[in-house]
C-alpha cells in the first residue's frame, strides 16, 4: 500500500487549494499523471489536424463552384448553346413535316383531267359522295395497285435470281464434268 502524500488531519484535508500549478494539484489529490512533454506534442498534433481539415474543406468549396465540370463563366454560354441546338432541332423537324405534307397533299390532289371535268358536272347535293368515291379510287386503290406491283417485282426478282442460280449451277456442273 502506497504511503499517502496528503495530510491525515481530517479537518484540513481540502484546506490546501489550488496554488498555480494545475498539474501538481491534480497529481496530489487525484493521482492523475500525464506523459512527459505531452502538451508540446498535443499542440503540434492539434495544429496539424486543423491544417488538414482546412485542406479538405477548401477543395470541397472549390468543387461546389463548378457546374457540369465547368467554371461558372462558361455555364451561361453552354446553357445558351444547348437551348439554341434544341430549338434548331425542333424547328427543322417541323419544317420537314410541312414539306412532306405539302408534297403529299400535292400528290393527293394530282387527279386526271377527266375527273376534274366530271366533278364540274356533278350535282351539288351529290358532290360529297363523288369526292369520297374519287378519293377512294384515286388514292386507296392506286396505293394498293402500286403495292401489288412492288410485290410482283420482288417475286420476279427472286424467281429470276433462282433461275440464274440454277443456270449457274448447270453451267458449273457441265464445266466440272467437261474438265
Amino acid at each position: 500500500m502506497k504511503k499517502s502524500t496528503i495530510k491525515s488531519n481530517k479537518q484540513n484535508f481540502l484546506e490546501e487549494g489550488f496554488k498555480g500549478d494545475i498539474f501538481k494539484h491534480h497529481k496530489k489529490y487525484l493521482g492523475t499523471d500525464i506523459p512527459e512533454g505531452y502538451f508540446e506534442k498535443s499542440k503540434s498534433l492539434i495544429l496539424n489536424k486543423i491544417k488538414e481539415n482546412i485542406k479538405i474543406e477548401v477543395p470541397k468549396k472549390a468543387k461546389k463552384q463548378l457546374v457540369f465540370w465547368m467554371r461558372p463563366q462558361f455555364k451561361f454560354m453552354a446553357a445558351a448553346s444547348l437551348v439554341f441546338i434544341l430549338c434548331l432541332t425542333v424547328w427543322l423537324q417541323s419544317f420537314n413535316k410541312v414539306t412532306v405534307l405539302e408534297e403529299t397533299n400535292f400528290e393527293l390532289f394530282a387527279f386526271y383531267d377527266t375527273i376534274l371535268i366530271e366533278s364540274l358536272l356533278v350535282d351539288e347535293s351529290e358532290i360529297e359522295a363523288f369526292t369520297d368515291a374519287t378519293l377512294f379510287n384515286e388514292i386507296l386503290v392506286k396505293a394498293e395497285l402500286s403495292e401489288q406491283k412492288l410485290d410482283n417485282l420482288v417475286l420476279d426478282n427472286l424467281i429470276s435470281e433462282d433461275s440464274l442460280l440454277y443456270n449457274y449451277i448447270d453451267y458449273g456442273l457441265i464445266e466440272t464434268l467437261v474438265l
Binding site: 496528503i6 491525515s8 481530517k10 479537518q11 481540502l14 487549494g17 494545475i22 498539474f23 498535443s42 492539434i46
Partner: protein, 179 residues
C-alpha cells in the same frame, strides 16, 4: 480581460488567426485538458476530446459574440465535447447518469496515467458517488480554480445554488475521507 479581447480580435483576423490560435493553445490547453480529464477519466480519452475541442474552437471562433468570456466559452465547448464523448462511448444518454458505474471507476484506476494511492482512490470514489452536477461544481471550483461566476456561466446554474452545492460536497468529503 483586455488580453482576451486582443486575442479574440486576432483570432477573427484571417491573416493573424493561426498565430493567435497557437497563443490560445499555450494559454488554455492545459487547463482545458484537466477539465476534460476529470469528466472522461483516462488520459487517452482526454487527449481525443481535447483535440476535438480545439478543432471546434478554431472552426467556430468567427461566431463567438463575446457574450461570455473566451475562457467560459471554451470551457463550455470542452464540457459539451466531453459529454458527447461519454454518450458515444457508453452508448447511452449521459443526462440519465447520476452516478458513475463501478466499471467506470475500474477503467480510471487501471489507466496507465493514474498513479493514485489509497487516499487518492478514496477521494476519487467519493467524488464519483456525487450527482453529475455536484461532481462538476466541486471539480471546477476545487481543481480548476474557477470562480462561482464562471462556473455559473458554464453550467447555467445560479451562483447561490453553486455555492450551496460546493459546500455540501466539501462537507461530505471531509466526513468520509478518513472513514
Amino acid at each position: 480581460m483586455d488580453k482576451d479581447a486582443t486575442l479574440i480580435k486576432k483570432l477573427k483576423n484571417v491573416t493573424l488567426k493561426d498565430t493567435a490560435f497557437s497563443e490560445l493553445l499555450d494559454t488554455y490547453q492545459e487547463r482545458l485538458y484537466w477539465h476534460i480529464r476529470k469528466i472522461v477519466s483516462t488520459h487517452e480519452n482526454a487527449d481525443d476530446v481535447l483535440q476535438n475541442t480545439f478543432i471546434r474552437i478554431y472552426k467556430n471562433i468567427q461566431q463567438f459574440k463575446s457574450k461570455s468570456s473566451l475562457h467560459t466559452w471554451m470551457y463550455r465547448i470542452a464540457y459539451n465535447e466531453s459529454l458527447r464523448f461519454l454518450e458515444n462511448n457508453n452508448k447511452k444518454r449521459y443526462d440519465d447518469i447520476d452516478t458513475i458505474s463501478e466499471s467506470h471507476l475500474e477503467v480510471l484506476f487501471e489507466d496507465e496515467y493514474f498513479d493514485g494511492d489509497e487516499i487518492q482512490k478514496k477521494l476519487t470514489n467519493i467524488i464519483a458517488r456525487f450527482t453529475e452536477k455536484q461532481q462538476r461544481v466541486f471539480q471546477m471550483k476545487y481543481f480548476d480554480d474557477l470562480s462561482f461566476r464562471k462556473i455559473s456561466e458554464i453550467l447555467e446554474v445560479s451562483e447561490s445554488t453553486l455555492k450551496s452545492t460546493y459546500y455540501t460536497t466539501v462537507k461530505i468529503i471531509e466526513e468520509k475521507i478518513f472513514l
